[in-house]
Point group: C2
Chain length 279, copies 2
């Protein structure tokens, strides 16, 4: 496994990589969710690159940029075990040079859900992902369904900017009790960790309702709200029943939908989602 830091090192390490090249972009503090993307990339590509970069521009001023968990040494060992070809750990100084002022925005898809709660978040995501894709030029980039809106934003910008390569969206990895894997789970205390299972329970309650014939978007949102209310440590930020592609909030009866939610458990903000209905 080669490790590149500068863009120059990246360019030199990229050149001899065999096609097709798969890329997994991460903010580090890797867990099984990340590794599932890496393994999928390994199974489909001749060579695999992983980037680790905690991108400052996608964090709001009151968010957890400084506290975001980091362990590059452990991440490096985990990726060596996966036998990837290239680990790129760029510096903020090089990705955001003095006088930086160029932003990539995906307009409509960035507005609802996470975008409404985290102003500027997707501008930061779209900009860094464009930069990483332009620098690495992968044939396939693997992203997780865990960040469902991010996945749609990336798919859209790749199409709109004619960036070569395919966006592969991979399923959410969960702990045995259903909690979606996330680097931020590390923030949870013991009681909070137990309480955090309420997110997936709320989603599955609504999904089961949908499967049983309850297709009213309001009714599905209500199921999620009420389930979340049953957990005193959970504070709901939003629940949503949205179109899986446009992410527009749905009203009336829904056939296919993205059920998603954002919930504070203590001070930790968690998100999760499930897709219901035919694809």
């Amino acid at each position: 496994m080669k490790v590149a830091t500068s863009l120059k090192e990246l360019g030199e390490a990229r050149r001899p990589m065999k096609d097709p090249v798969g890329l997994v972009t991460t903010m580090g503090f890797l867990h099984e969710g990340h590794l599932s993307l890496v393994r999928r990339a390994k199974s489909e590509c001749a060579s695999v690159a992983v980037s680790i970069f905690v991108n400052p521009t996608q964090f709001g001023p009151s968010e957890d940029l400084v506290d975001y968990p980091r362990d590059l040494e452990r991440d490096t060992l985990m990726l060596e075990d996966e036998k990837i070809d290239l680990l790129w750990t760029p510096s903020a100084e090089q990705l955001y040079p003095d006088g930086f002022q160029t932003w990539v925005t995906v307009e409509n898809l960035s507005q609802p859900l996470e975008g409404a709660q985290r102003p500027g978040h997707f501008r930061g995501v779209s900009t860094i992902v464009t930069k990483l894709l332009v620098a690495v030029r992968p044939d396939r980039v693997y992203v997780g369904q865990k960040d469902a809106q991010q996945a749609q934003v990336i798919r859209r910008l790749v199409k709109d900017l004619n960036i070569p390569g395919e966006v592969v969206i991979c399923p959410i990895m969960r702990e045995p009790d259903g909690l979606a894997m996330s680097s931020r789970n590390a923030f949870l205390g013991q009681e909070e960790r137990k309480a955090a299972t309420i997110l997936y329970r709320a989603l599955t309650s609504a999904a089961e309702g949908h499967a049983a014939g309850e297709h009213g978007a309001d009714a599905l949102r209500l199921i999620m709200y009420e389930t979340l209310l049953s957990e005193p440590l959970a504070k709901t930020q939003y629940v949503s029943v949205a179109d899986p592609e446009t992410l527009e909030e749905q009203w009336g009866s829904v056939d296919s939908a993205l059920l998603s939610l954002a919930v504070f458990v203590g001070k930790t903000r968690l998100i999760d989602n499930v897709l219901v209905g035919p694809r």
Copy 2:
């Protein structure tokens, strides 16, 4: 010379091109100004690609998109004569697919001068140039100093998005009487064509003033204004004495500066500029 229309054809034509690859991005209706970029690219690169695309997103609703001069047949013959390797004439349908919503913006540099007069113009320019650069992956892209602000915007976005390749800014080509070459000169009637020389005369008056020791930004603007006032067919939109790199308007004494102006001659809007002082 290969001619590509679709992105697929472009990809196939790009692959065998010898490094370094030079790119000249144009909106067609080629003149000696464009050809000077092509010849510079030919002299410095192993292969040269030219794109012709009248980019709708950089025109305002009241601007001249529909009337913008076009002559693809003549352009093609001119480029064959220059022995370029690849002509790419993409379609708007492919560059702006259904649901298009991703924009590249260069914030500060897009605000003054042309940006102030043409809202959204540089968003359109930045977006299309990013797309062309991502698709063609040139080692060098050649742009004209005629569009001085555009050149700075492109230089900045290439740096900020870590797009590989160098931006080469080439000097303005002028008619014997000093009029800067522009596809829009084709709109000028006979009287207007004569009157249009006032732009360069205004710039050279100010530049001569600067060389003779008049470094006051206000005084230099006044020289340009007064010269332009002497031509009844000319209607000044702005004159500017700006920092050549940040494009911020200057006040007080200036050492180096970009003198620029936008002037309507009849219904045709013309721009021009000169750099004064040490580089």
